[in-house]
């Protein structure tokens, strides 16, 4: 039981860092004139995905029945999170800019860590389930 909850707790922490980071230290580029670029929309999408990952993480902790499926869903959300900055939503065109230098690599690393954690959670859950059967 404890083994299956730990990955969910790690995911929750990662989701919090992603969500809070998407509008603070991992935010898209700050424009001096107040206008928004493509990277701003990527930041909004990442905030949404971070919140979604957080909800899924809470579900993995509280819901025993759907835990395995929730972990699998989390993997899908993390894949989407990895693809969002730069691939699905374009960023600024100068690689020295904040969205490319900080936001993109940090978000990819965080979502990759989330995906890996979810995969471990799913693996532990499936092992326990099949072990019992």
């Amino acid at each position: 039981m404890k083994k299956q909850i730990i990955p969910g707790c790690v995911m929750l922490v990662l989701a919090l860092v992603i969500s809070i980071g998407s509008f603070t230290f991992l935010s898209p580029c700050v424009h001096e004139d107040g206008s928004v670029g493509a990277c701003w929309w990527a930041g909004r999408a990442l905030l949404g995905l971070g919140c979604l990952l957080g909800i899924l993480a809470v579900l993995t902790i509280v819901s025993g029945r759907a835990r395995f499926g929730t972990y699998l869903s989390s993997i899908a959300v993390c894949v989407l999170g990895i693809l969002t900055p730069g691939t699905l939503i374009s960023l600024c065109r100068m690689s020295s800019m904040h969205c490319r230098a900080v936001m993109q690599p940090a978000m990819i690393i965080l979502f990759a860590a989330g995906g890996l954690t979810a995969a471990i959670g799913a693996w532990v859950g499936s092992k326990d389930k099949w072990g019992k059967q």
């Binding site: 580029c29 065109r93 900080v102 690393i109």
Partner: protein, 401 residues
Amino acid sequence: MTGMTSLSVKNLKRKPGRTIALVLLTAFLALAVFGGSVVVLSLRNGLQSLEARLGADIILVPSEAQSKVSFQNMFLQGTTGAFYMDASVTEKALEVPGVEKAAPQVFLASLKADCCSIKIQVIGIDPEKDFTVQPWIARSLTGELGEMEVAVGCKVEADIGEIIRIYEQRCKVIARLEPTGTGLDTAVYCNMDTMNKLLAAAEAKGISHKITSDDDSVVSAVYIKVKDGYDIDTVNTALTGKLRKVTAVRTRSMITGVSDSLAGVSRTVSTMIVVIWVLAFIILLLSYVMIIRERSREFAVLRVLGASRKMLGRMALLESAACGLMGGILGVIVAAVGVFAFASLIESSLGLPYLMPAFSTVLLLAIGTILLSIAVSAAASALSAWRLSRVNPGTALREGN
């Protein structure tokens, strides 16, 4: 798996807390060595690249250029800047004894480009006279830059064939240049015809580049190559004397400044690596000494069961080497993720030329770091392994009671 190896693996699994602590400690060592080495190597590569890219012995710029924008920052950090002087400076410079080549360049800082939220530096070159940028462009482009065609530095995220707008002018990207690790990577390069059109477009937007109202033939910098056998300082003085309102900057002085900063950063990083290693080695040594005490009974039992001293020593060394291997791999992975993913951030934070080493160098460095981690881990446990092998089974078992 032999009996001794299997026993070592079981020992590591049986005490996961202890194993994780040792692996993390070794990982920290590997992270410091690999990450620090990659940063230092990248800085050295960046300096070499800057030397290669500058290519000229002297750069002529308008006197007000140094006050308007730091010329060095334009090369190192890609700061935009635009300053102009009369185009006749190129011809006048060629008249000075000792000047072999003189290549003019025109700078134009774009308005906020449609692609980004910051200005980009546009540099116009004369392909017939240029000897600094042209060899670099030739590596990525077989033909020549045509009208309204541009080559972009590797940090400008534009694909070949794409159209970028500069002052509402449509420019076609025909080449992406190789990285140099300097501010030149953030610039856009075009020929003089294109530059003249961009200057006219800038003029229409109210950004004037004219020195006098009736003359629009301008250059921003002239790169000078000194003939062999001539003293660069003498030519530099002659150029300063002949050309009014022009400053002659020796590229060597720019490089020396960067080199000094780089030496300072390298020294700090190297000192930190050594300090971390010494501290971590002492911690590892103490950890293994404490582990001996804890495991003396276990080893005494193994001796009673028939294990030789050599076998016990080998088992202890195997365990520490395994921790070193796991820690080394973990440390290298974490450091690689950090230094490669955040290369742009590191570069802008240091404000120095920063060019990543080749993949083969990184691979060798990674292998070296892992081997070093194994060796240090084994060395730290060698004393403990030797002492373990000397354990008197009877005394150890009695002490336990």
